[in-house]
């Protein structure tokens, strides 16, 4: 017994001698010192944190076979089997960067993201669209302040890097949008059909985009719709151009929004004289239904339906006889609907499946008559998953059925009609390869088949990004892009090739603490562009062209308190031979220099947000038939200074925003180009007319009331504008 007791007394001594001391340093596999790593023996509390030099040291009473565990943010968890028998154990663990950290390198070439995804470089936030002074809450207007775009006041559309308007395609949740703009007549600018508030993120790609997107030669505008509406609210908008009423109902896992609006520009045109002789000012009526349902397991089901009818009628002066005016009437109807589901399949695959249907009809009546109906139905799915730590794969397929139905009756009662049916099928696959935390490459291929052309194509795409240092990276992208010629060119002849563009670009980006700087150089080659013979006739695929340039972007969210500004500049050198061009020439929509400065300031004391945008565009070419050559003349340079202000207040206890905006404040003379008569006058010259904005300024006043939102609904910030 005594011996036993004696042994018991000895026991702690034996234990204490069993203490093992672990020492060492923690480095990454690349040799970087890891500071703050957590090192411990599994199942015990014994451990330590690595210091500035990556060194650690601690003692443990555990003995025998044990596991050492090391965790560090951005590295895979490190495990090592140890045999602890007391004494000193020196360790030199090396940790590998984890895939989640690797994903910090993001391919930036050609792409501007306005995402709410905070890991990505947020260059432009959705709210920025609403507060950009020159945009008047139009998506296309805000995009026009980014580099790579060319301002096009006469159409209001987005033109990218020497590409025509049709070369930029809009996608909503991956589904192609047939008519992203409101119907309009020539030289009266259109607006984007969709409110910026429908979208939580905007990705604007100026080239080199993913194999996921096709049928766009120059640019993809990728819009991601909002998920569940945040709260139940009723809104009333009273604007200088019309009224709107909306109601949003939010339930636990679903939401429904219904809205209607009517716009009529005639009261405004009475107050602000227009250069156009309006018989009936533009009017439109429309409605919208948005439904969202969250499913079990975090899937989301979305539907969106919108319908619009619009009409306008004007008289414009004839070239033949300046005393005579010609009538022009437009009646348009549009229905857009989509339905989609996004969720996780079998725990691993991110699934997206969706469909869309569009119907659009534009009826123009003048001394001629033109009735154009366009419909499309499409279905698309994509599947994506991580394949191991360092590889991500994505693939998908889509089919689109389209119909183009056109009727034309000329002045001489000659009539013709075109009916074209398209069945377009495409599939794509791409993979992201993370070679290290500094280097990622994306390789993809897209295959397309058009039944209308009876042709297929294969478009390879590749892009890569490499981190140069903290906060800065370079990226590169190249690829081929195909687009079916516009329906109008397929009137007489469907035996055309896909139009083709090949993109190359290198991008440098530096983002740090509220400062963003980007520079990108690019070269783009066009081939197989549809070309019509002089005097009209069946098109051929002999067109070609190129565009090269430099895009610069600088944004500063930091220097000015409560303020924010960005500067963008684009240099463009482009020529093409397409449509009815007699040879290679710079198109009328291309300007060598484009620049914008966008500034926003929030005054908390005044509850007011103020914005100003200055835009500059160097002279654009136009063709003067009185002179030799083609597109040989240049317009004056374009300047614009627009401002807006939003005042936030409560009206009878309801949150209210008063919004005012004005374009071209200093009243610059803005000329987009010149139009010439078809026939020379008595003196042998062709009469001309400048293409200018319908009025020198566009003024807008709106009062937006949100019923049932009070101060406690402090969810009202700048973003609600």
């Amino acid at each position: 017994m005594r011996t036993f007791l004696f042994l018991l007394l000895l026991l702690p001594a034996i234990f204490s001698s069993a203490q093992t001391r672990l020492e060492g340093d923690v480095l990454s596999t690349r040799g970087d010192t890891l500071f703050g790593a957590n090192i411990w023996i599994v199942g015990s509390y014994d451990g330590a944190t690595s210091d500035l030099h990556g060194s650690f040291s601690f003692e443990t009473a555990a003995k025998g076979a044990q596991t050492l565990l090391i965790t560090y943010l951005g590295c895979d968890t490190f495990r090592q089997a140890l045999s602890l028998n007391g004494g000193l154990l020196a360790l030199h663990p090396r940790l590998k960067e984890s895939a989640s950290a690797l994903q910090e390198v993001v391919i930036s070439a050609g792409s501007f993201e306005a995402a709410s995804d905070r890991r990505r470089a947020v260059v432009l936030r959705p709210v920025d669209i609403a507060l950009t002074a020159s945009a008047t809450a139009d998506i296309a207007g805000a995009i026009a302040t980014l580099p790579g775009t060319t301002r096009n006041g006469e159409s209001g559309k987005i033109l990218v890097r020497g590409g025509a308007a049709y070369e930029t395609r809009t996608f909503i949740d991956g589904l192609y949008v047939q008519n992203p703009y409101n119907s309009s007549v020539p030289n009266v600018p259109a607006r984007n059909r969709f409110s910026p508030f429908l979208f939580k993120g905007t990705q604007f790609s100026t080239g080199g985009y993913s194999a996921e997107y096709g049928q766009a030669l120059s640019s993809a505008l990728i819009l991601h719709t909002e998920d569940l509406a945040p709260s139940t609210t009723t809104g009333l908008s009273l604007m200088s151009v019309g009224e709107g009423l909306s109601h949003t109902q939010r339930w636990e896992r679903s939401s429904l929004a219904v809205s209607g609006s009517y716009t009529n520009l005639s009261p405004y045109f009475l107050l602000v004289p227009q250069q156009i002789d309006w018989l009936s000012a533009p009017q439109s009526g429309g409605g919208e239904i948005i439904f969202r349902q969250q499913t079990r397991g975090d899937g989301i089901f979305k539907t969106y339906v919108s319908g619009t009818r619009s009409w306008m009628e004007m008289r414009y002066p004839s070239f033949d006889d300046p005393q005579e005016t010609l009538p022009l009437r437009l009646r348009a109807g549009n229905l857009y609907s989509n339905i989609s589901y996004r969720g996780i399949l079998a725990g691993k695959w991110a699934l997206f499946a969706g469909g869309a249907y569009t119907y659009n009809r534009d009826r123009v009546a003048s001394f001629f008559e033109h009735d154009e109906k366009q419909q499309s139905g499409q279905f698309r799915f994509t599947l994506a998953r991580a394949a191991g730590e360092h590889v991500k794969v994505k693939f998908g397929a889509e089919q689109l059925l389209g119909r183009f139905d056109e009727f034309y009756r000329g002045e001489d009662s000659s009539a013709y009609s075109t009916l074209r049916d398209e069945r377009y099928t495409a599939g794509f696959a791409e993979t992201d390869l993370y070679f290290s935390s500094k280097f990622v490459a994306r390789v993809g291929i897209r295959g397309e088949y058009s039944a209308l052309l009876d042709r297929g194509n294969l478009a390879p795409r590749v892009s890569a990004a490499y981190i140069l240092g903290k906060n800065e990276q370079i990226a590169f992208a190249a690829g081929q892009f195909y687009q079916t010629p516009e329906y109008q060119l397929l009137r007489y002849n469907t035996d055309l090739q896909f139009e083709r563009a090949t993109h190359y670009m290198i991008n440098y980006q530096r983002i740090r603490d509220g400062f963003t700087f980007r520079a990108e150089v690019y070269h783009k080659r066009y081939a197989q562009l549809a070309k019509t013979p002089p005097g009209g006739g069946p098109a051929s695929s002999n067109g070609r062209g190129y565009a090269s340039g430099l895009d610069l972007f600088f944004r500063d969210l930091k220097t000015i308190r409560n303020g924010d500004y960005w500067i963008s500049y684009s240099y463009l050198d482009t020529k093409r031979d397409y449509r009815d061009f007699p040879g290679l020439a710079t198109p009328t929509f291309a300007a060598r220099h484009n620049a914008s400065i966008v500034y926003k300031q929030w005054f908390p004391g005044l509850n007011t947000a103020f914005g100003a945008t200055y835009s500059f565009q160097s002279p654009r070419p136009y063709n003067d038939p009185n002179r030799p050559g083609f597109n040989q003349m240049r317009t004056p340079a374009y300047h614009d200074l627009s401002i807006n202000a939003s005042y936030l207040t409560n009206l009878w206890g309801n949150f209210t925003i008063l919004y005012v905006s004005a374009t071209n404040l200093p009243g610059f003379e803005q000329v987009y180009g010149y139009q010439f008569g078809e026939e020379a006058g008595a003196d042998g010259t062709f009469p001309s007319r400048a293409i200018t904005p319908p009025a020198r300024h566009f003024l807008f006043v709106g009062l937006f009331i949100n019923f049932g939102k009070r101060y406690r609904a402090s969810e009202t910030t700048k973003e609600d504008l």
Binding site: G36, N38, G43, G47, T49, R125, T717
Partner: protein
């Protein structure tokens, strides 16, 4: 003799058990005592590591997870001065620990206070543009925390600080914040020795109460 021996074994065994739980309380008390004194970023990071080791060894306890999350959260605020993305990653760590704690104690008032606090951390990235999304969530979690335990002073305390920092136009400001601080102060007075349970916020409440009352005068 045999019985004595058996009794001894049993005693030794139970001793081992109590030693085990003593080891837990000792480790926790030591770390919590240190938490009450630390202020710097590396200290918070180190303590987060310490608590997460305890959490890993005691998979049934929510408190070590709570403190792991709390330390990450406190480390996130100074990280904003270095680099916002690091702060956000650290907030992700705080959220991950909190999510595990919520699985163990889904009705614990303190965990909802912490959830609100983490969201305030996220708000710091850009208060102007994140306010709309985050404010209702913060108030929602604080409301739940108060409902689960009306005596939890940390719920009105956070409500007060959030309200104080909100622009007056949105219903913030000193005057609106005052009742929350007064309520928090009263609850802190009632709060007895909490042991290992969360007990932060009293000093700060008194500090703000003083500040707010001063601005009122």
């Amino acid at each position: 003799m045999k019985n004595i021996f058996l009794a001894f074994i049993l005693a030794a065994f139970s001793g081992a058990v109590s030693a085990q739980s003593n080891q837990y309380t000792d480790a926790m008390n030591k770390a919590i005592a240190r938490l009450d004194t630390v202020r710097t970023l590396p200290e918070y990071q180190e303590l987060a590591n310490t608590f997460s080791r305890i959490a890993a060894a005691e998979p049934k306890e929510w408190l070590p997870l709570y403190y792991t999350s709390f330390c990450h959260l406190n480390a996130a605020f100074p990280l904003y001065r270095e680099e916002a993305s690091k702060a956000l990653q650290t907030l992700d760590l705080a959220q991950a620990s909190l999510d595990k704690a919520l699985e163990l104690a889904p009705q614990e008032s303190e965990l909802f206070v912490l959830q609100a606090y983490i969201l305030i951390g996220r708000l710091m990235e850009n208060p102007m543009s994140k306010g709309a999304e985050i404010t209702p969530k913060v108030f929602g979690h604080l409301g739940k925390a108060a409902a689960l335990n009306p005596d939890n002073p940390r719920a009105p305390f956070l409500q007060g600080t959030y309200t104080l920092n909100m622009p007056e136009f949105y219903g913030g400001g000193a005057e609106k914040a005052l009742p929350h601080f007064e309520k928090a102060a009263a609850l802190f007075e009632k709060e007895k020795d909490r042991g290992m349970l969360p007990h932060w916020g009293k000093e700060a409440t008194n500090h703000y109460l003083q500040q707010v009352s001063d601005t009122k005068k």
